[in-house]
């Protein structure tokens, strides 16, 4: 590792450096060009691939329907035509900067001078210190390399264990089950997807996955993983999950999906405020006033208009979604160019598990009551969240019309009276009120 000389402020015309080959990174580069920026743009990341879509890694990719190449966000021609230099396989380890610019240095010693800096570093899987985590067949899912490994391991497995009953865990569980594996999901909490949905939605997913033949263990106490002895004291292959009561559940593949940790090392090194992500304002500006950050790595004022004026709305949060990466990156690009732009949106999320399409509109965090519309037993229903009389969010399962109606109502600051919404013969679009 070369020593980095202190930056002396000579790189004033070096353009924009975007660190993180992610959805937010690509969007930021694209938007800079759309807004007329003609300065150099360098987008750098440590993976071998140019930036690609991550959501399919737990869905289409595991069915063998996608590759990192087919998931690429942009063609090579696009980057060339727009003079965006995409650098792969370089891990930035240190940055020095002042108000006029600075320089980043990679592990290989390559130097990246910049006038403007954007951090779109994303997030890494939260690692759990389980005994046996180094056994072959135990892993996480975040990038194409992980997905490629998981796909190969699944092909040879009979028993699959998933640690964590959130979106990633359940999407992978559903994929594995669809290909005939014995699948067990271990969730430490009393319900599935507890971080994102209501008890009604959690209960539905528990039943729906059990009906499809997945074993779900709630309040699970995973102690570690057991394996066969590898040769020459190398770790062997995983053979099971050990619970704290000593039970061993057979598994030749273990996927751990227990959330992510924002990648903030570089921000911390720059002295930026960090608190569950890089702390930014609604212009995507970090605490130094110059650097911008966007995507999973950023901690922002709640951008959800439906929450304005409430304690929840005045709070800060981090969002892990395509939409947030895209919209916040657009704001960050404008901010870098000195243009006015504010990050406001109605957050939305989706998760495809087996033949169940979950679409979530809005943030339900401040609700005080729910309305269930339709019948969960039909696997087609919606849960609408209200704060008082105001609709604030919905979880829609196989109910795209409801999702679109709620998203549009929230986008236009409209509401849908709860009593009318509860009657599933009413079209939500038709009973929306200003």
């Amino acid at each position: 590792m070369p020593d980095s000389a202190p930056y002396t402020g000579a790189a004033g015309s070096a353009g924009t450096l975007i660190i993180g080959n992610s959805q937010a990174g690509v969007q930021l580069a694209s938007t800079l060009r759309e807004l007329g920026d003609t300065e150099p743009i360098v987008l750098v990341g440590n993976e071998a691939h140019p930036p690609y879509q991550r959501p399919p890694l737990s869905k289409a990719f595991l069915k063998g329907d996608a590759t990192a190449q087919s998931l690429a966000f942009r063609s090579d021609e696009f980057y060339r035509e727009h003079s965006i230099e995409v650098v792969t396989g370089e891990h930035i380890t240190s940055i020095t900067r002042d108000a006029f610019g600075g320089e980043a240095i990679s592990a290989s010693g390559r130097r990246f001078p910049f006038a403007r800096l954007a951090l779109t570093t994303g997030a890494a899987p939260r690692k759990l210190p389980f005994a046996g985590s180094d056994l072959r067949g135990v892993g996480y899912l975040r990038d194409a390399a992980d997905a490629t490994r998981l796909l190969a391991e699944l092909a040879a497995a009979t028993n699959v264990a998933i640690v964590g009953g959130g979106f990633i865990g359940l999407e992978v569980a559903a994929s594995a089950r669809a290909s005939g594996k014995n699948v067990t999901v271990f969730e430490a909490a009393p319900r599935l997807i507890g971080r994102a949905v209501s008890e009604e939605t959690s209960a539905f997913y528990l039943g729906a996955h059990e009906r499809r033949g997945i074993t779900v263990v709630l309040n699970a106490r995973v102690a570690g993983f057991v394996g066969d002895g590898g040769p020459d004291s190398q770790p062997g292959a995983v053979t099971g999950v050990r619970l704290d009561d000593g039970t061993i559940v057979p598994a030749e593949v273990v996927l751990i999906g227990v959330g992510v940790i924002p990648r903030t090392e570089l921000a911390e090194q720059l002295g930026l405020a960090v608190d569950n992500g890089i702390v930014v304002d609604s212009q995507a500006r970090a605490s130094d006033g110059f650097t911008v950050a966007a995507g999973d790595c950023a901690n922002m004022p709640n951008p959800s208009r439906a929450d304005a004026g409430t304690d929840f709305g005045d709070g800060r949060l981090r969002l892990e979604s395509v939409q947030n990466a895209v919209e916040q990156a657009k704001v960050a690009a404008a901010t870098l160019l000195g243009l006015e732009s504010t990050h406001h949106m109605v957050p939305w999320f989706w998760s495809d598990q087996a033949d169940l399409k979950l679409q979530i509109a809005g943030l339900s965090g401040s609700h005080d009551r729910v309305i269930v519309r339709g019948n969960p037993h039909d696997e087609k229903f919606s849960v609408l969240y209200y704060r008082g009389e105001q609709l604030i969010a919905a979880d829609c399962v196989n109910s795209p019309l409801d999702f679109m109606a709620v998203r549009n109502a929230l986008n236009h600051d409209q509401s849908i009276p709860a009593d009318l919404a509860a009657d599933s013969t009413n079209s939500l679009k038709k009973v929306t009120t200003p």
């Binding site: 399919p56 395509v322 895209v326 399409k357 795209p400 679109m404 109606a405 679009k429």
Partner: protein
């Protein structure tokens, strides 16, 4: 290679090439064509790749399925007779396609 020509509401036309089997949405996003978002990557979850298919191109594509039809009811710009979600429109060899993009997708 089949091409897609995307005409924006102001009349600006952008032509992009794709491979047979690619969708009209993928072709737009990969080439940075304005007016098509495709937030969900083609999983019929977002309705941000709405297009109006020009009459001469309609015959190159299959019928709408129910899910696409439902999602079209919630597009940012109201649907018309020739509205499709472009993630569901697959290119085929030898067929150049023409679509119009709406005023907005969100």
């Amino acid at each position: 290679m089949p091409t897609v020509t995307y005409t924006a509401p102001d009349g600006t036309a952008t032509t992009a090439s794709g491979e047979a089997g690619d969708s009209v949405m993928e072709t737009a996003v990969r080439n940075g064509v304005p007016g098509i978002v495709g937030e969900c990557g083609g999983s019929l979850s977002c309705a941000t790749c709405h297009v109006f298919v020009c009459p001469e191109s309609a015959a190159f594509f299959g019928e709408r399925e129910d899910l696409e039809d439902d999602m079209l009811d919630g597009t940012a710009v109201d649907r018309q007779e020739n509205s499709r979600l472009s993630c569901q429109l697959k290119l085929s060899a030898g067929h150049d396609v023409f679509v119009r993009t709406p005023e907005s997708q969100v």
